[in-house]
Symmetry: C3
Subunit: 370 residues, 3 copies
């Protein structure tokens, strides 16, 4: 209720925008005691020339996000005093080669998929309350069980080099992100421990066979000290059991070790769809980043396969180089090779390959962050 | 026409963005003499845990905008000297629980409804010329006849507590907002008088039975002095007469009285669809906000019913509490109860209830403005 | 790969936004040595009352972009030292009368058309590397062969006055913009020479009859000195030959001459669709802008016709006046008259006219840039 009054003053009058540099931007990404308010506009523009060759066809394209996901966002934090803070984060995926958006999902179910034609805050859309006890976060964000897939991937799940446990994931609509989430994130400063738990809803009415579809939970707990860090995660999303769908469970572990001359990483993944005949998938990742001055040589081996008929599996070897013009701007090149077995037919960069045949992919791109 | 010249300089070269605080932000919402230029980025992130129970089903969900509409916008004002100014306002609805947008309408007709998948400036999209004589505003904005529905609602038409004359409105595509509008808004400083008149178009070609569909006008005039304020509004939108549609007329009155210990409000509403058998609706609102320190206790009773077969009507009682962390950040809880009669079957928070059965709804949310 | 670590710090931490005025904004539109970094928010809000009358129907509407395309964008440039720079440009078309977006195209083919319901960076979405040697630009942008259509049009291809070679263009999805583009733009300071070349892709897989659809190239070279400037352009996009489609080629020349009392312009256009029975189109433009104080009188004559059965052609005469409140804000009025012949039935502002009958159109609008 507002005083009945002139129409124009009835619009929300709160508005505060101030410039923020790197430090301020980072602070909004950290839970725990809040000191200082800011609003930050940020984004990434990453375009990449991709080429893929398979046994059936090859394909050239200009595409988006070969090194980092193209995006446009606004985020902010308000210092409420005494360490308490409130924050928001609105982040839209951008397909830089066409200017369109990136598809999202409104209810963690296949019928909630949204169009990629236009911009939505599909990457993250949250409001938070933050204090010394951690962060309460509501909205849409990465699933906790996704984090170990990006953290151990030298290619950050972007471009042709993306690890197979991400590319091939059988974990459905909640594999990477969840909508309608209530999450709690541990604060920093717990002797190296970090983690989060999430409960997310399919937002269905009760008393239907599909009432629980898209509802689930996910959690992750990790510990890091000095150069070493490790985390385990698990999640489950409910779906009505059918010949092709059912409850989906995800469990994984990831670790990184910074040896200075080289940073190594490893991950292990178990995904399961509890359909009439359940399908289980297993994945592995070994990664390596060699810093060369300000630049990087990247190497990744990964494998992901299921126990479906024939035990289809794909192994990928990726090699990349990132040349840094600055922290914000890089050029990069990536080569990937996939070996298919058991009926798998994974192609690269849109090229099509026959079952059990290999495929090659190449990326050459430019990424700028702001 | 530009000088034939290098491609890159052919792009519009005007660009001015400057940080603006609360004061500057508010100035852009006021008609009348303009002093000072600014551009303001603003928004709201509001997520709410909702639960509804009806006689058929119940439903839990995380949803958006329980206290204030989640949004993202940019607005600005240019001082043209001598009190004259120009302004723009672009405001997109955001569904914070999923990151998607909110549906709009392009032509004030049912076939002009737009997808909610992605962001559009569905809430407001205007350009203005402003002077001592008032404001000329072109584009999409609230309908004048809508204002009395939000101004007297302690819950501002957000969340489970929203008054029934808003929830149940039979006033069609122009009930809340109008596209293709030419509006004139009175300036401040007219001895307490305020108001606006709008003409809006369906943008159809002539010589069709539906040529006038979506075309109409709306106006509102009010007066306020000290703690008291009252306004009357009326609007009409034309549609081809069919068994279920026809010209829609809306008339209402709203008043607020700030008694310091409590702010009270009241509203009365008449809506009519002139179909083959016309349908008339009548609504009432009584509201109350009790300030408790910086916090608020909210109470609202409302009723909305039509003269369709059986005289279906729904009465709602809502009770809410808003705890303010700051002006920008609040937590809130709301309880609502609906009584249905005459065949009405209004449920709350997505739960389904049978005709003439009651329903309960609960909200627990966090809102942050920027 | 990131160190396995707390989820919240895994989000990209780069974020820099600073206010930028006109000078900074313009610098981001200029290739060549880069000096200084900036990020600029910019846009246009342009609403126009349009009326059109044809022999069959007339039509009134409020529409968007009568003087300049309504838009919302963010662009920036990073100084990498030694004249080297990186830049990005994200620009979304806005339909100001409804708040929706503007349709784009993802693959330069008819099936890549996107919805206009919501915002996308359909106008421009690019990342660039810039140095003394010019600019490498990747993404979606104006086609090189489009520039001579806007540069010689006193109405900048906006509103009812838009020249016929733009309105009637038979050049398909790549007539104005191209997605999936790799472009090279000449730097300034080459003795008056300017230009660009582009290669763009349809992003199809190989070994299909339509593999090359939407793939093509475009180039433009011009020279300007003092008040005179001229440019030629040509482009080609491949499509499978069918009864109605085939390779599309575009060639044109445009020139402007600033005589101080009046700025004159001229353009000549040849477009061809190589379908089973090829269709060729020819267009002409003569333009004139007379500055009157800070205001402008605009005049344009244009003609566009094809060699399809009957040789349909439309000639347009447009007269306009632009009143400037400031550099950022103008009011404008335009009158246009179209003569149709050979079976052409071009109407104005949505009115419908019979073949070979004339049509009239009127615009009255307000434009504000930020």
């Amino acid at each position: 209720m507002r005083r009945v009054t002139s129409a124009t003053s009835a619009t929300l009058a709160l508005g505060a925008f101030c410039a923020a540099g790197l430090a301020a931007a980072q602070s909004s990404a950290v839970q725990g005691p809040v000191t200082g308010s800011s609003v930050t506009l940020f984004g990434v523009a990453d375009a990449v020339l991709g080429y893929g060759s398979g046994s059936i066809s090859h394909r050239s394209s200009l595409y988006s996000s070969g090194n980092s996901a193209s995006r446009f966002g606004v985020r902010g934090i308000e210092d409420l005093g005494g360490g308490l803070g409130a924050g928001f984060w609105l982040e839209a995926g951008v397909t830089i080669d066409t200017g369109t958006g990136v598809a999202g999902n409104t209810n963690n179910q296949p019928n909630g998929a949204t169009s990629a034609d236009a911009l939505s805050f599909n990457r993250r859309s949250t409001v938070s309350l933050i204090d010394f006890w951690g962060e309460l976060r509501l909205g849409r964000d990465f699933a906790a069980h996704y984090r170990n897939r990006s953290d151990v991937d030298p290619f950050d799940n972007n471009g042709v080099g993306t690890i197979q446990p991400q590319v091939g994931s059988i974990a459905g609509p909640t594999s990477t992100r969840v909508s309608n989430m209530v999450g709690y994130y541990l604060p920093p400063g717990l002797g190296g421990f970090f983690g989060e738990v999430q409960y997310f809803m399919g937002d269905n009415v009760s008393h239907l066979p599909t009432s629980d579809d898209g509802t689930g939970y996910s959690g992750r707990i990790g510990w890091g000290s000095g150069p070493f860090s490790i985390a385990v995660a698990a999640g489950r999303t409910d779906y009505l059991r059918t010949p092709t769908n059912g409850n989906i469970t995800v469990a994984n572990v990831g670790a990184t070790y910074d040896l200075k001359l080289v940073e190594v990483s490893a991950g292990y993944y178990r995904d399961k769809v509890d359909s009439f005949v359940p399908v289980k998938a297993t994945g592995y990742v070994l990664g390596m980043i060699v810093p060369v001055g300000g630049n990087q040589i990247k190497f990744a081996w990964s494998r992901y396969g299921t126990d479906a008929v024939g035990d289809p599996a794909a192994s990928k070897l990726s090699l990349g180089y990132v040349y840094s013009f600055s922290k914000r701007t890089v050029a990069y090149a990536t080569y990937s090779h996939v070996n298919n077995s058991g009926g798998s037919a994974v192609g690269l960069n849109g090229a099509v390959t026959e079952p059990n045949r290999s495929a090659n992919g190449y990326d050459l791109g430019l990424r700028h962050s702001f």
